[in-house]
């Protein structure tokens, strides 16, 4: 057992992946000499050299497009997008190439590319630095999408994503980079594409991922004090979804609330609501409810606390669920 921040766990996981497989190549803006603006790649260029940790020109399409070529040549590129809001110049390469080449080639050209994206708000930043674009990727066939919430998952899931033969968009909860927890570096991790019950409960099933898992757990804590029992599930994988544990839970609780920072409209909560309602229709005592960002432009940072779901807003919606 080692105590690691989430950021350091990612760094350690990257290091391990690079040691395990010489074909792993890291690419991104400022990831080499600087070690990344969040220092997630700190020290890696020094130890693995410039050929394996590449400070790229300032062009996200370039990063993803060359990653495709490297993948065709047998490499496993792990690319860093500096902030969530800067992935869009690469969107064409991701959606029309990375996501499609396996199908286009009928499996002859696997695309084992990991796209690391620090996401979410709450760090007081300027425009484009606080967004939650995961639904854009989850809606894209051919990509797999995961989000980590804690140091242990950060360490393991990153290695699993890199080892995956498919392209994985890997969301890191930037405002939790400094959160610490024990990480068992010898453990056998759960499968990458699985969700997990992180707190058992009976009254309402609460789903979250990434930065909102902590918020959901806090909400469950607070609810418990008022005698209400929330089961919290960390989705971990956003595409494919692993709704088995969710359905099992909802069949017991009859109520389900999904939390995410992303705009509510067509966010992950929409898909989950649609599926869970279909599979658990006769068990539901209330509609699946969503607590998400408002459907507005991400506001200036002085307003982000009012924009982002927090413990109170979660409990408020849990209350609404109970009222049905």
């Amino acid at each position: 057992m080692t105590t690691l921040t989430l950021g350091k766990a990612l760094n350690t996981g990257l290091r391990k992946a690079m040691e395990d497989d010489p074909k792993v190549v890291l690419m991104g803006e400022d990831i080499g000499k600087l070690g990344g603006v969040f220092r997630i790649t700190d020290g890696l260029q020094k130890d693995f050299g410039e050929a394996r940790v590449v400070d790229t020109p300032l062009a996200e399409a370039g990063i993803l497009g060359t990653a495709v070529g490297l993948a065709m040549r047998g490499y496993r590129p792990v690319v860093e997008i500096q902030f969530d809001g800067f992935v869009f110049p690469a969107y064409n390469q991701i959606v029309t190439q990375v996501a499609k080449i396996h199908a286009r080639s009928r499996g002859r050209l696997p695309m084992p590319i990991t796209i690391r994206i620090p996401f979410g708000g709450g760090i007081g930043a300027v425009e484009h630095h606080s967004e939650s674009p995961e639904a854009y990727f989850a809606h894209t066939t051919g990509l797999k999408v995961v989000a980590v919430s804690n140091p242990s998952d950060a360490y393991w899931m990153l290695q699993q994503a890199i080892a995956s033969p498919d392209p994985v968009v890997f969301f890191e909860p930037k405002r939790r980079y400094w959160d610490k927890a024990e990480v068992d570096l010898e453990a056998t991790p759960p499968p990458l594409f699985s969700s997990r019950v992180v707190r058992a409960g009976d009254d309402v099933t609460l789903l979250a991922y990434g930065p909102m898992v902590k918020t959901a757990l806090q909400a469950a804590e607070a609810a418990a004090e008022e005698g209400r029992s929330l089961e919290v599930i960390d989705l971990r994988t956003l595409s494919p979804l692993d709704l088995g544990p969710v359905e099992e839970s909802v069949r017991r609780t009859g109520r389900c609330v999904v939390v995410h920072e992303a705009q509510t409209n067509l966010g992950l909560g929409a898909e989950i609501a649609a599926r869970v309602t279909e599979t658990c229709f006769h068990s539901l005592e209330a509609p699946v409810l969503r607590v998400g960002g408002y459907d507005v432009t991400y506001p200036p940072s002085k307003l982000e606390e009012e924009y982002l779901p927090d413990l109170d807003r979660v409990l408020h919606v849990v209350d609404r669920s109970m009222e049905f």
């Binding site: 020109p57 060359t66 070529g69 065709m72 009928r106 499996g107 050209l109 033969p165």
Partner: protein, 377 residues
């Protein structure tokens, strides 16, 4: 200020592009089939090579004509003709070594041919049977890329992989990206050149300037000759007569050699003309004059080599007849193969989305099968 030079590009819509008057154009075979020398691009070709180049040119044109006919008869969804661009493609394709990897657009049937890709594998894509049927790694010919310009970054990344594999800049082999004149306006294409320059990547950008992007003439993409673009990024650009298979071969060979030896990228502008429609869906009479095509017919890439071979006595009537016979056989094989091509199974679409199948898609596949069986019963 940087002087821009005085050279003005010929305006295709305004009459004939005056190729011989272009001082920067590399040419080894005149439109009349006369062999000329170029100080930078000496080439040593045996007579056999010349004959086999001719054979390639003639056969890919025959393939192309047959595919167009098949489309007209409803057997293909669409066809993108290479008519007029045979020399550019065969010249580039034949310059490639076994270790080199090609990244085509959707029109490089000539390069496919030179790489040994089965024409029927190309046909099946345009028939709508698959999204790319050949083995891109075995043939060293990537699948066609329809999104304009996207392949240029792939080629550059692949070239960066070559560098890493060999441990030395350049390494063994090079990558070649094909692109059109229209593609040069895409941001990604320019990024590819920037990356290639920065990393000295062993990649050649082979641009077929066929004067049009569908209906849009080259002047809308660039007011100066395209090959000049490269210097702005810090690597050499060269304009070659794209209807001269020898010149293309020589220029591409040189660029590939330069890339392989670690000296970085080259941009080649093959100055040519799309003699047919953009695709079988297109009607070029809406945007260009018949005159223009007539002018370009005088520079036909195949007629030019034929004239050279005949006049120099390197080939006789028997040779040309034998190539024609071979073309007939090829056409028959293509037609027969197309008509006999089995339709893909519906389950195909579920089977290659991921390397590791998801439960979700597996479930949809099962649902699909059950639904289909519901109809069968």
């Amino acid at each position: 200020m940087t002087a821009l030079g005085e050279m003005v590009d010929p305006v295709p819509g305004a009459g004939a592009p005056h190729l011989p008057a272009q001082p920067d154009l590399v040419q080894l075979l005149t439109p009349e089939g006369e062999r000329v020398e170029h100080p930078d691009y000496a080439i040593d070709v045996t007579d056999d090579e010349l004959l086999s180049l001719y054979r390639d040119l003639a056969l890919v044109r025959r393939w192309d004509v047959e595919a167009t006919a098949l489309q007209r008869q409803g057997e293909l969804g669409i066809w993108a003709s290479l008519l007029g661009q045979e020399a550019a493609q065969i010249g580039a394709g034949r310059a490639l070594g076994a270790q080199d990897m090609a990244f085509p657009t959707y029109r490089e049937h000539g390069v496919a041919w030179a790489r040994g890709v089965d024409p029927l594998h190309v046909i099946s894509l345009f028939r709508g049977n698959d999204l790319g049927g050949w083995d891109p790694l075995a043939t060293k010919f990537n699948l066609y890329t329809v999104v304009i310009g996207a392949q240029c970054l792939h080629a550059t990344g692949y070239a960066m992989g070559i560098q890493r594999d060999s441990g030395t800049a350049g390494g063994d082999g090079a990558a070649i990206a094909f692109l059109g004149d229209g593609a040069t306006s895409q941001g990604e294409v320019n990024e590819a050149m920037i990356w290639a320059a920065t990393f000295d990547a062993p990649v050649v950008f082979f641009c077929q300037n066929n004067q049009y992007a569908i209906s849009v003439p080259i002047e809308r993409q660039s007011k100066v000759p395209l090959f000049r673009r490269a210097a702005g990024f810090g690597f050499p650009g060269v304009r070659v007569d794209g209807n001269d298979v020898l010149a293309v071969l020589a220029v591409t060979r040189a660029a590939l050699a330069r890339a392989r030896e670690g000296s970085g990228p080259t941009f080649i502008e093959a100055f040519t003309y799309r003699m047919g429609a953009h695709t079988t869906s297109d009607d070029p009479t809406r945007y260009r004059l018949a005159d223009e095509l007539e002018e370009w017919k005088l520079r036909d890439p195949i007629a030019r080599l034929k004239a050279h071979l005949s006049r120099s006595g390197k080939a006789d009537a028997d040779f040309f007849a034998s190539v024609e016979a071979e073309g007939d056989e090829l056409a028959v094989r293509i037609r027969k193969g197309t008509l006999e091509m089995p339709d893909p199974a519906g389950t195909e679409m579920f089977d290659h989305v991921y390397a590791e199948q998801t439960d979700e898609i597996a479930a949809q596949r099962a649902e699909f099968l059950a639904y289909q069986e519901g109809f069968a019963s």
